[in-house]
Symmetry: C2
Subunit: 340 residues, 2 copies
Amino acid sequence: MPWATAFTKRLGVNFPIALAPMAGVAGGALAAAVSEAGGFGIVAGGYAKQEQFLPEIEKVKQGTGRPWGIGFLTWALERNPRALDAALEHAPAAVFLSCGDPRPFAGIVHDAGARLICQVTSLPEAALALEAGADVLVAQGQEAGGHGDSRRGTFSLVPAVVDLARSVPVLAAGAVADGRGLVAALALGAAGVLVGTRFYAATEALGHPAAKARLVMASGEDTVRTRLFDIVRDTGWPERYPGRALRNRLYETWAGREEALRAHLDEIRPAYQAAAAAGDFDTAVIWAGEGLDLVHDVQPAGEILRQMVSDAQACLARVNAIHRPPQKRQRNTEEDDWAW
Amino acid sequence: MPWATAFTKRLGVNFPIALAPMAGVAGGALAAAVSEAGGFGIVAGGYAKQEQFLPEIEKVKQGTGRPWGIGFLTWALERNPRALDAALEHAPAAVFLSCGDPRPFAGIVHDAGARLICQVTSLPEAALALEAGADVLVAQGQEAGGHGDSRRGTFSLVPAVVDLARSVPVLAAGAVADGRGLVAALALGAAGVLVGTRFYAATEALGHPAAKARLVMASGEDTVRTRLFDIVRDTGWPERYPGRALRNRLYETWAGREEALRAHLDEIRPAYQAAAAAGDFDTAVIWAGEGLDLVHDVQPAGEILRQMVSDAQACLARVNAIHRPPQKRQRNTEEDDWAW
């Protein structure tokens, strides 16, 4: 049975679960699988390069007839605004913008008949997105994988943004990786969740199989927010945005020694590029969030979504039982009691 | 109607809400008020100085016949272990330990017939507390006010600790400040919540009225984790524990200039002590967590607790309605829909 929130109604989907548009991971196949399962798949438009995202848009259109979206880094769109027009020609249900001022692009998105989803990491950013006329806000806590200038935790940011946004639905992002997280986000006032890391470990995700295997093995405590990988990769990320990634040998070698790293880039950068191409993640980066403790396997995205919904239903039943304990239940000894 | 969780059963209380033992704030009057309202009040034993906490224990015993606890900083207890014996003579229902290795004290607590509550900020710390035989774990995220070496967010830490702790109940701490947070914590698998900042803004809290007034005005975004105030105060906090506090003029003046600050301590420290005595919080510290956006007034602690329970019930009804939308409800236009 579908879940009804302001987000599901606004986007025309069955479940309040959206795919985070992870660059290099959330391609058309993954987005289509999420949308087909009743969520909202968002293709990563990433660095706003048509040759990269237009083939993925073709794939999502081939893979699903349900609503899907496209996500851009706003600072990258500023450098290539025509990418937005190229994406809008394919009639996405929504455009997702993060990391930058959405106001210059809001009118273009709305004029094309698409919804505008703005990811925010603070109350001033949320106010800016509301001013831009965002149809959905995503409140991203510092637990989230990948880039962002979040300083606040998901648990505190979500209700604060919800109280500010009033009638505009808010998705919770950052460490939402199972049914418990979905119910918790809804309890905090969110109209749904944006899920990244859990869907990185999906069969359809573009990431390297060796990266997915590391995600399954790792804990949220193995992640760190750092700019180190961006210094090496030279992808144009503004300095204000660190990214949360798995610690690896490259990180352990250079963390705290960024000046020395910069002095050796002539050697390190080609070695990094070779490692990334070869799937050597002792050197290459794997972006990942703190929710990793809850990622135990690689599954098709549709299965992940269905499991999340099913676990959420069980979670809600459990919380309801706390609130309304069974009247006629036999008293157990304490040792028999369950853990809540 | 009481709520039944493993925590409420284990401690013999009606609601899964515990008072954080905030040093200088959670005195006997506040703890008694929380316990009287059906929660679990924990007196701050803080720096383990009998002359400070024994009078507060007298107050909590005068104020309530219900279960209450006492909290110590473990590193302070190591310096004065007799404080634990002095507290246990008063038969607290539980001893709360944070910031240090609980194992040397666990046997003493249990031999006295009290429960052991251990606050943890990571999975290795949780494993250590379980090894010590903790009866309750508190999973504290980095959003929490006051001291701690938390690196992880509440939203990701709680389910990870719950999965590790299995049959040992876990309380969520860090940005839990209203009924939404209580339901979210239960959804994440917690057996209850530990609430600090919201109870700082309670009538019975020992804090200065001017401090409470600032809490009501401030946002979670006005807080920062820093060691700066401890450099000035010289309270013996080990370097690994920063504290989350409101940014103020002292902070803005010296942040990033800690060496210069140390060089001027002869002048700054007496001025700080005078400011703290006078309630001048441009200089003196106010510890506070990211949940501040949800703190809108100063109320008696019993009212705060009752409101939290009542809001949680409404929150749960709202989430249940998302999951099971009313079958015969008139379809509204989207603009009429509520924000979830």
